[in-house]
């Protein structure tokens, strides 16, 4: 918490360079909220975060669910594949994607050889590429959240539902989803907060074309050395993350009660 408080203090300094300046000013916040460029970046960042979280949920849920239901031996290697991107350095993952998506990369070479496109295309420096890479990075968080909550759902409930002639879709909708909601919300929240504060990926994959809040902060501090302004932006990010977390917790609390009743 101390760093966050420090960030708050420096965001009110009136200087524009390193720790120059003193006193108290809201100048940096006013600049952020009055300039439409920043508000559009802020908006884009939130939209990206939402898209990434939704995709993670959509493709991560089946994986997390199946992991929880697999016998331990089969689970082992799959768990290692899931945990690997979490443990591996982020730069290495992003580098891998640079080679996949680059002009002479894997994707272009496959597409050209299949005759789908005639000449290599530029996939990097575009929003879809950034979203794809963010999804791959944060997917494990969603998978593991879903897995941990599904492990606690007794398979007997699913057998009971199928004995009552519910097909899988009905069982899924009426039994699994309500019971797994807390895990889904935790995963969603994690992925969202991580995505809106990402800066390595937008910078390396998106270049200057896909500004996100995190990469703006990084540039403000490490290239322009405008620390007070960077601090103001970081604090906005911090508050946004906290706000979303609080909202998710409130949602989880209310959803949990309803989900419990559904299951009974």
């Amino acid at each position: 918490m101390v760093p966050a408080i420090g960030v708050l203090r420096y965001s009110f300094l009136d200087g524009d360079y390193l720790l120059d300046g003193h006193g108290f000013t809201l100048r940096h916040y006013l600049r952020f909220f009055s300039d439409t460029y920043y508000s559009s970046v802020l908006w884009d960042t939130f939209v990206d975060g939402l898209v990434v979280s939704l995709i993670c949920l959509l493709i991560g849920f089946p994986v997390g669910y199946s992991l929880a239901r697999l016998p331990p031996l089969a689970r082992r290697w799959r768990t290692i594949i899931v945990i690997m991107p979490l443990t591996l350095s982020l730069v290495v993952i992003v580098f891998g994607w640079l080679i996949v998506l680059g002009r002479n990369g894997l994707l272009n070479s496959v597409l050209v050889n299949l005759g789908i496109i005639s000449s290599p295309k530029t996939f990097l420096f575009a929003r879809p590429a950034v979203i794809l890479v963010l999804v791959q990075q944060f997917l494990p968080f969603m998978i593991l959240s879903v897995m941990s909550v599904v492990t606690q759902i007794d398979p007997v409930l699913e057998h009971a539902a199928s004995n009552l002639r519910a097909n899988r879709l009905v069982t899924f909708r009426r039994v699994i989803i309500p019971l797994a909601t807390p895990g889904i919300l935790v995963g969603f929240n994690l992925v969202f907060v991580l995505s809106i504060s990402a800066f390595i990926t937008p910078r390396l994959i998106g270049g200057n074309r896909v500004p996100m809040l995190g990469s703006l902060i990084y540039e403000r501090i490490m290239s322009e050395f405008n620390w007070p302004s960077g601090a103001a932006m970081a604090f906005i990010l911090f508050v946004a993350g906290l706000g979303f977390t609080a909202a998710f917790n409130a949602l989880a609390a209310s959803r949990f009660v309803r989900g419990g009743r559904h299951a009974l």
Partner: protein, 266 residues
């Protein structure tokens, strides 16, 4: 179980998604390793041929090797410090009631409250204010903040699972509390402790999001070095260096898997 049409659709869709997801998760790292063995000068796919030349160049490259050394050095110190602090915290949470216990537990279980950017910047300002920015302290502090929660969680899980009866037996035999901890508790939870330390090591070793704000000319870690390098260009040399990181990480995961099972990491 009886299957109807929607069941089959769901089964097929589920299987396709699972295969796609596992492929997606493994793809970047696998490709880096494959291309690190290229004999060509570029990162084009498919690779030109097989050679170890880029590994040789990586080991001869002064910036990367000194960064690798810095990373290893920082990670070892962070692992030891995180283990000591984390064990103390986990032991206290597990055995005693004290004011602020709930807060400590909440802190240990939610390391992601503060985004990495905010943590990095905050520590940067803090240490700049203390005039310590040209030292290793910011890096140690940043990595410790990241690593300690994992250590606390892993050690806490081991402490909760292990059987207290043996400790009680030792105490009945008039062993001092310190002796009990040293001769009974620590050996029993050794796998948990080792995993925690190794995981703290790899957290520090691979971190870039916090480190990037806290390094200066003399103490650049390997991931930060890779990041600044990738900002300008990339070539098979980076692939070789990255592959070294992949091998280290994979070794770590497999070791932890052997010790306590990979699921504990989540």
């Amino acid at each position: 179980m009886r299957y109807d049409f929607t069941d089959y659709v769901l089964i097929v869709a589920g299987a396709v998604t699972r295969v796609a997801v596992y492929a997606l998760l493994a793809l970047p790292a696998a490709l880096v390793v494959v291309l690190s063995f290229t004999s060509g000068e570029t990162m084009d796919f498919p690779p030109a041929g097989f050679s170890m030349q880029w590994y040789q160049k990586a080991f001869e490259s002064e910036p990367f090797m000194s960064a690798l050394w810095t990373s290893t050095y920082v990670a070892v110190i962070v692992a030891i410090a995180a283990l000591v602090i984390g064990f103390a915290a986990a032991f206290a949470i597990n055995r005693f009631d004290f004011p602020g216990k709930g807060l400590l537990q909440a802190l240990a279980f939610s390391p992601l409250i503060v985004p990495a950017v905010v943590l990095g910047i905050g520590l940067l300002y803090l240490f700049a204010w203390m005039n310590l920015i040209q030292t290793m302290f910011p890096l140690f502090a940043g990595h410790l903040v990241l690593a300690i929660p994992y250590v606390v969680r892993t050690v806490l899980a081991s402490l909760t699972l292990h059987n207290r009866v043996l400790e009680e037996a030792a105490m009945n035999l008039r062993a001092s509390p310190l002796r009990v901890v040293r001769r009974i508790t620590l050996p029993l939870i050794l796998p948990g402790l080792l995993s925690a330390a190794i995981f703290a090591f790899v957290t520090s070793f691979g971190n870039v999001t916090v480190s990037v704000f806290l390094t200066y000319g003399g103490n650049v870690t390997l991931p930060v070095q890779l990041f600044t390098y990738l900002d300008h260009s990339y070539n098979p040399l980076v692939a070789a260096v990255s592959s070294i990181m992949i091998f280290v990480t994979l070794a770590v995961i497999l070791t932890i898997e052997r010790l306590i099972g990979a699921e504990t990491l989540s």
